[in-house]
Symmetry: C2
Subunit: 146 residues, 2 copies
DNA sequence: TATTGTTATACTCTATAACTATA
DNA sequence: TATAGTTATAGAGTATAACAATA
């Protein structure tokens, strides 16, 4: 069923289609690293330098604090993160990547950010044009699509 | 951290970013219709004309048959689908949308396919160019990104 | 009073394995 | 033998509500 309406709407609908088709790929890739999908997303949101307070992670993930407790439990159980008390606020626990966690996070990021063949097949000119247009949609700074 | 490497890879990485940002939107939208995320995706995959055999739905969703049993239970409990025996194979049950299910499916599709403001803001020329390039990535026929 | 993290509870999604009824 | 759907079981994600410690 072809998208009807403006070119803007049609483009969006194709993007939606791409999302949907990538879903199973994302799940399978996370699994390759022994991660459940939410765990992979959580790892991605952890600051590799400073670590990230649990409540901040909850906000990044758009979920409840109580949910993060369980995700952190499992990541900690797998030896990928560590709960560290905040020096400035004794209520806060900061999730910090272990060496193993940092390694897995980086490897997963490398794999997931590698362009699929269909993107690699674009001509340089098309890729450059695509990049420029996407930059308008997701402006480098600011709150794109938020 | 800016994407490094080819324009192809950079474009892909921006697409990934858009996916991630849409996640919570998708969940919230499904919830507006009283649907869990997987239920919304299942509804989308049901053929509104003929209905869809449960095992075919399992393949579309990339999950096990046993999983579809539960999803179908809940959709049926909500009065959105009906299990109907196949006339040609007595092992098969076809999931058919009820009137209410068809309505909710259509309304949800209308909402989710509406382009976000950032896409609507593209110039007609940019939108047309984007559309053309995306068509190369997801070719109208064939197995894009599969 | 408000926030952080936890616990308890409940529901959904998911897979595996065992089962049935068909084919 | 193989497939379609179910059931049982288990683990993961999610939210709400209640709680202790801290701000």
């Amino acid at each position: 069923m072809p998208a009807t309406g403006s070119a803007q709407a049609e483009a969006w609908q194709i993007m939606l289609d791409v999302f949907l088709r990538q879903r199973s790929r994302f799940v399978a890739l996370a699994q390759e690293f022994g991660l459940a999908p939410a765990q992979a997303i959580a790892l991605k949101h952890l600051d590799p330098e400073t670590g990230t307070p649990m409540s901040e992670l909850a906000r990044s993930l758009g979920c409840d604090n109580s949910n993060v407790t369980g995700i952190a439990d499992r990541l900690e159980g797998a030896g990928l993160v560590e709960r560290r008390p905040s020096p400035t606020d004794r209520r806060v626990k900061t999730l910090v990547l272990t060496a193993k966690g940092a390694e897995i996070r980086a490897a997963h990021q490398r794999r997931i950010t590698a362009a699929p063949p269909e993107f690699q097949a674009l001509s340089d000119a098309d890729a450059a044009a695509l990049l420029e247009i996407l930059h308008q949609v997701v402006s480098p700074r600011g709150d794109p699509l938020a």
